[in-house]
Symmetry: C2
Subunit: 518 residues, 2 copies
């Protein structure tokens, strides 16, 4: 390594906003992905994998931050001078895939995909530049039943992951409600519309007063940064907030609402979600705004499908404050939220909020094909959901037993120890030969403890002569050490170390496992 | 979508050298990864995930192609002007991880990792710029037992994947043999050494004459491209080839070899691998080249450990032609090869060759830490192994049954169909509501066929009135269609379509599954 000394040494460090994932999280996340996959398969979805990067042109105007067209993604130039970008979601690659393979796909095409996505954004606490998403999308279905299915799928996936009914909610709205409201207050500029959309999307975080500022002149945040607002009048803002907070209740009389409910075939009684949908529908009719009528009808149809599928208002609700920040949504939008209370390590309450979302995007494939192809999808933020489940202790047990450690008493007998460790492994027992410096047994026991080993196998010259091995039970040994008082008594019944014939090694280790489990 | 029409449309296309992975391959590869993971866990390895990219500086001089220092990887500039590169293997990120977290890791540290790696290389048939590797490494163990374990691990993984003993071989050599030979023929220039290494690494593909050219003046390939050689003399070349082809047999008499075998404690009889190791050892002793003596002793110790672990010469052999192209190996090197004969679709024989490899790299962590940390590892080329297994029909069955399709007879009854499909899903039956245009039943049956559905559920007004559904068995239906002659007879026993009470839907579908399986 003479060369190494000559050059200055690089610092071993992660690029900012990235992280290494430790063993316990990998195991738990792997179990989560398998659970989600099972649910999606049950719904008839097929897996697809696309590459980590695409031509930047193919991601095109669907970049997450349109105000900085080339920002938000990691891009690099290929040697033929074409720009490529790491995918920032799994939807844009799907649009490219569908456009490229349209003829051969079943229609509608239900696909799921999981994998890393990358965002070239300022990292922050819990905010990484690489994270895992799990998406389901149905392409080629304009039916509202396709949207309904996405919400039911999300609910089923969350419950399969161990989140109890009542601890989450799927919130549904229709982007067309906003379109209709903007039309009714004469906001037609696309840029202004987008600013309004982004403002409303922050309702959860900023509350009504924060959104009011962003709809008006603008808002200064805690750090002093100023965000320019949409520049609407007070009257326009009031109209929008009226819709966000509770749908346009004020515009309908109680009698009108009652008549409306009585007049629908599928009145669901006190279902607030149905009422929301009806209010929007009636408001649209009264103001003669077709897009609002459409929006209300769609929401009403969704509620009917949810309830028919057995998904009550304890699982899926219409929530007028949900808009989703991405511009490409064209109809129903969804958001999955965890609702239970939790505390962090310091006992402070935590709100997890959104762990996934999606919606209908009928224009995304049209970019490539010209022809509009309806599509709807739902994306689970796996990394975020993992963090929530972890903090709550709701992760399914992904613990793996530590390996049995075969210790090295005499370096010249490595072949013997190797044979023992292979015998254990061949019997499907997780086992390791100690590969560190075998100078003393203490270091080997310390290593075994660090590895969470159930037991250590030892063969010195005496044991070898007798064809035996010593097995030291580390779990019982630790218990014994913890209860010195009853030590002697315990020792007579369950020795923490004992000798067995070498050909009984596998049976003896299995007995120890059984003892630990009982 | 007025906007779309105004702008010119991008072409939907994959960046060159990348590919989408279809459902069947994802399922099969997923099963493969799970199998490999089980074997690695059994050996005591712990999972780790690192990010997709690292600071370019951290990958540093371990880039795959040292002749073009900035080539071979995909790199991009962060907004703080630091270069980052997509990982081209899983070893360099491990070195960074270990250097960064050395104090908290168990020593030795056994870790496994799987994921995509990216190479900025000219793509070719079957040669992609993104592919999946599965690595196991042991860091902090200088013991030859750590190297031996890598080879046994690889053998076990291949067998667990369904490759029969005899259909693969793990080839082992020691990089120090080449070091010693180069020393004995006075080649000391680092650049020249690397050229020799690269030349020998092509032995499998080019044969002895091709390598001879690359060791001499150079070689022109089929396309006319000329590769400059190492510029060695004929005598030097002969000496090297002598080692590659069969170890220095000519330099020892039969008597010397026999004496040598008789003189070792663990003579394994006719084991060619042991003979190779012994020849190198004796040659080193005769020429007084310490590095060759060390190399021979290490190989001898490896053979003993393999055989003690129960891995005979049908699984792991010493092969003097294996050198591995990467510069960073410092000791034993390994290569996993598939050896059985196979034919492609056109009946032409195929050689799969290497599906994985690795070796000892004691210097990789030292780049960061100064202090040398011994390490050894093995990497399986998952994408390549998948391609081989697929062509051989040796993939474990990863077929998933197509979904039951609930058809849409009447658009106004969507809520009824939705309820049926959820009933099936809640009973853990893969099911879909038909979400396409329900204009005719023919299109829905065609869709069901395309989805490989076992059966279709239909409810028209007559069935609805009776509280029934029709179930059309597509598998039996297809059989019936294929044997028109016995059609009538068959129909009387196993009707391809029948009516059941709606509340017996789940049972009826399960009966159909059972019938298909019998």
């Amino acid at each position: 390594m003479a060369k190494t000394k000559k050059t200055s040494r690089p610092k071993a460090r992660l690029p900012k906003g990235l992280r290494d994932i430790p063993a316990a999280e990998i195991r738990a996340q792997d179990a989560m992905l398998r659970t989600i996959r099972e649910v999606y398969e049950r719904y008839g979805f097929e897996p697809l994998d696309t590459p980590a990067f695409e031509y930047t042109e193919a991601l095109g105007k669907f970049l997450p931050d349109q105000e900085r067209p080339n920002a938000g993604v990691f891009s690099f130039l290929d040697d033929d001078e074409e720009w490529m970008s790491l995918r920032y979601d799994l939807t844009a690659p799907l649009a490219r895939y569908v456009a490229e393979n349209f003829e051969s796909l079943p229609k509608p095409y239900r696909r799921y995909q999981t994998g890393s996505v990358w965002r070239n954004e300022k990292p922050g606490p819990g905010r990484y530049r690489e994270f895992t998403q799990f998406d389901a999308d149905t392409v080629g279905a304009s039916s509202v039943a396709a949207d309904a299915e996405m919400c039911m799928l999300a609910a089923d996936a969350l419950e399969a992951l161990g989140i109890a009914r009542g601890d989450y909610v799927i919130k549904v709205n229709n982007r067309k409600v906003l379109d209709g409201v903007l039309e009714s207050i004469d906001v037609t500029d696309e840029g202004q519309k987008l600013t309004v959309l982004r403002a409303i999307d922050k309702f959860d975080r900023l509350g009504v007063e924060g959104v009011r500022l962003l709809l008006g002149d603008g808002r200064k945040d805690e750090s002093g940064d100023f965000t320019k607002g949409a520049g609407l009048t007070e009257e326009q803002i009031d109209q929008i907030l009226d819709f966000i907070e509770s749908a346009p209740v004020a515009t309908l009389t109680d009698k009108e609402i009652q008549d409306t409910i009585a007049g629908t075939q599928s009145s669901l009684g006190d279902d607030e979600s149905e009422l929301h949908a009806l209010r929007i529908l009636r408001y649209g009719e009264r103001k003669a705004i077709p897009v609002l009528i459409d929006a209300g009808e769609t929401l009403l149809a969704l509620v009917k499908l949810f309830r028919a599928g057995g998904y009550g208002s304890d699982r899926i609700v219409i929530d007028p404050s949900v808009v989703r920040g991405l511009e490409y949504y064209t109809g129903p939008v969804f958001e999955a939220e965890l609702t239970f209370e939790a505390k962090d390590e310091k006992g402070r309450p935590i709100r997890f909020g959104s762990v996934g979302g999606g919606g209908r995007y009928d224009g995304l494939v049209a970019r490539f094909k010209g022809q509009e192809i309806p599509a709807t999808g739902f994306s689970i933020g796996v990394s975020r959901l993992y963090a929530a489940l972890n903090l709550l202790g709701k992760l399914k047990d992904a613990e793996t037993r530590g390996p049995v450690v075969v210790s090295v008493f005499d370096k010249d007998c490595m072949a013997d120890y190797q044979r023992m460790v292979q015998t254990l492994r061949n019997a499907d027992i997780r086992a390791e030969l100690f590969l560190g410096n075998p100078k003393n047994m203490g270091a080997q026991f310390k290593y075994a403890d660090q590895r969470n080993s159930p037991c250590v196998v030892i063969q010195g010259p005496d044991e070898k002569a007798k064809g035996e091995v010593q097995i030291k039970d580390l779990v019982e040994g630790a218990k014994a050490a913890a209860s010195i008082a009853s030590n002697e008594e315990w020792r007579s019944e369950r020795p923490a170390q004992f000798a067995v014939s070498e050909d009984k090694l596998v049976e003896a280790v299995r007995e120890i496992f059984a003892r630990h489990e009982s």
